[in-house]
Amino acid sequence: MNTRLDPVRAAGTPAQGAAAARGRAGAAAVVAPRSPLAATLRRVASLVVVHAVLLTGAAFVLLPFLWMLVTSIKPPDEIFTATLRLWPHHFNAVDNYRHALTSAPLLRFALNGLIVCAGILCVQLLTAIPCAYALAKLRFPGRRALFVLTLLALAIPVQVPALPLYIAIAKVGFLNTYLSMMFPFFLSVFAIFLLRQFFKGFPDDIIHAARLDGMGELEIVWRIVTPSAVPAIAAFAVFSFVAHWNDLYWPLIVISDANLAPPPLGMMFFADAETGSNYGALTAAATILTAPLVIAFLVARRQFIAGITMTGVK
């Protein structure tokens, strides 16, 4: 690599060239020096503009939450006067919430959500972890085909197999069960893909050492490799939980019994029943059903954001 700087090639003598060029640059760059006051004013003005824009946006974004909370503690007469008043004159919180809780089994909905999401997550992890490990570390026939299939399945949203699955479940008579709600989601191709990436980075030497120590492969997976992936698993758990807590399409199809309804479906039942009348109770119900996730978000903001935006890191 011939890399010596070539002193011969500069145009004219170096000193001449540099001086001439500096003159050029000088002529182009004579700028009136900015006074410190102008600089500060500029900075303050830009701050004001930035925050004005951001706050306007934030106001629009937070408006529904605010209104939800406020309406849920207002009495009906105040709700039905179309004013912009924010704070209620009289508090009707107890009534609204009581009505909401009694006319619909809201806590039941939340419980259903919990059961379904926990069940789904468990099976997802139980099946995905060994499979991801096998894809990452073991050689077996059909490995590449399996990987290609998982990639393909990644692109297929749940609404696609929904129809045939529904027919099959209906024929077997399994509609209106927890199992039917969980079944299509037992497989998480995303988890397999994500964990495979992670396991690929796990040092082979540790696994070899464990094998030499006499550990069975299953033990290796659960006791050595999985603990190292806990952050990724935790983020995925958040992602899975939130996605399935908020899912409407599939439960709508397989569940008609309100006792089994998860939060979105339950809310839909409740809203249908209370059409057009008791906004106080409606917003109270909405508050109750939205609260768990929102509180979880506020408590564990970083993990939440990391989990939900995992789709971005895919």
Binding site: A82, Y133, F140, F186, V189
Partner: protein, 307 residues
């Protein structure tokens, strides 16, 4: 120096290990593979097959009718309208959902003390249960009782029935879709912005890139390119899959102006039980999604190339 017999022993052991590894691999992958077939691949195959039949749920038998379902869809005004509505919805949600998120991300990125507050505020809709919030939105948009119309009244605009006006229903749902999406995209953009090395901006500042416009055009926009492509594609897919707000707020009305593809599929397949027809519509739906996903795969490749 090993003898022939010892060599064969070593080879035998190696072969045994290899076979054990193969069996273990297959064993580990089996549960997931079974699920994959049961939950994804088999239904997919059945779906495609079914779209070529005339099966309605409850029928005792069916026959193959070739592309009849697809031709029917092509000429079906309801389907065409719902496809059009879906694409219109995407066309509204996409530029605003991506553009606004980018703007907010750039503004929030520079904040130090208020950044946490803004992140929480904008991301809150993403965590909330959309159905519950949809109910709140119905109230917010109420012609007589909702604060939005009251606000409009203050400015002197007549109250509008957002959800009962055929020309307003879909755009209104689009606005709610944007509301739900902006925080998500904002976080993705923030991650992309954070990944831009700070000394690029410093070098650019020394080179003369001083005002915000120059900084954006020279560094931010090109460096965000891959993130931007990714956000556009995922937002397109998310928007295309719109269902919840339609199902809860408008039920496809008024007069079908907010009926979207997934809602049509839902009606055909699970209310009217025209299974084969719904299957055909689902195949169309899948085709669109696959196109978006393919684009996504190619842009991901480009992102890896970039570093």
């Amino acid at each position: 120096m090993t003898t022939l017999a010892e060599e064969t022993l070593a080879q035998k052991a190696a072969r045994r290990r290899l076979r054990l590894e193969k069996l273990t691999g297959i064993g580990f992958a089996t549960p997931a593979t079974l699920l994959l077939v049961t939950v994804c691949l088999a239904p997919l195959a059945v779906l495609v097959l079914m779209s070529f039949t005339d099966y309605d749920l409850g029928n005792l038998d069916f026959k193959f009718v070739g592309l009849a379902n697809f031709t029917k869809a092509l000429h079906d005004p309801v389907f065409r309208r719902s496809l059009w509505n879906t694409l219109l919805y995407v066309a509204i949600v996409l530029p605003l959902g991506v553009g606004l998120a980018l703007l907010v991300a750039i503004l929030v990125h520079g904040r130090k003390r208020t950044r946490g507050f803004y992140e929480v505020a904008y991301f809150l809709p993403v965590t909330s249960t959309l159905i519950a919030m949809a109910t709140v939105w119905t109230f917010l948009l109420h012609p007589k009782l909702g604060p939005i119309n009251a606000l409009l009244g203050v400015v002197g605009i007549a109250p509008r029935a957002f959800l009962s006006d055929p020309s307003l229903a879909l755009p209104t749902l689009a606005m709610i879709g944007i509301w739900h999406l902006v925080g998500f995209n904002m976080v993705l953009f923030l991650a992309g912005l954070t990944a831009i090395p700070k000394d690029l901006y410093e070098a650019a500042e020394i080179d003369g890139c001083a005002n915000p416009v120059d900084r954006f055009l020279t560094i931010t926009w090109p460096m965000l390119g891959p993130t931007l492509m990714f956000v556009i594609v995922t937002s397109s897919i998310t928007a295309f899959k719109v269902f919840d707000t339609v199902a809860v707020m408008t039920h496809g009305g008024p007069m079908g102006s907010s009926e979207v593809l997934l809602y049509s599929i839902y009606l055909e397949g699970f209310q009217y039980f025209h299974s084969a027809y719904a299957a055909a519509l689902t195949v169309v739906f899948l085709a669109f999604i696959l196109v978006f996903s393919v684009i996504q795969t190619f842009t991901l490749d480009r992102r890896v190339h970039y570093g």
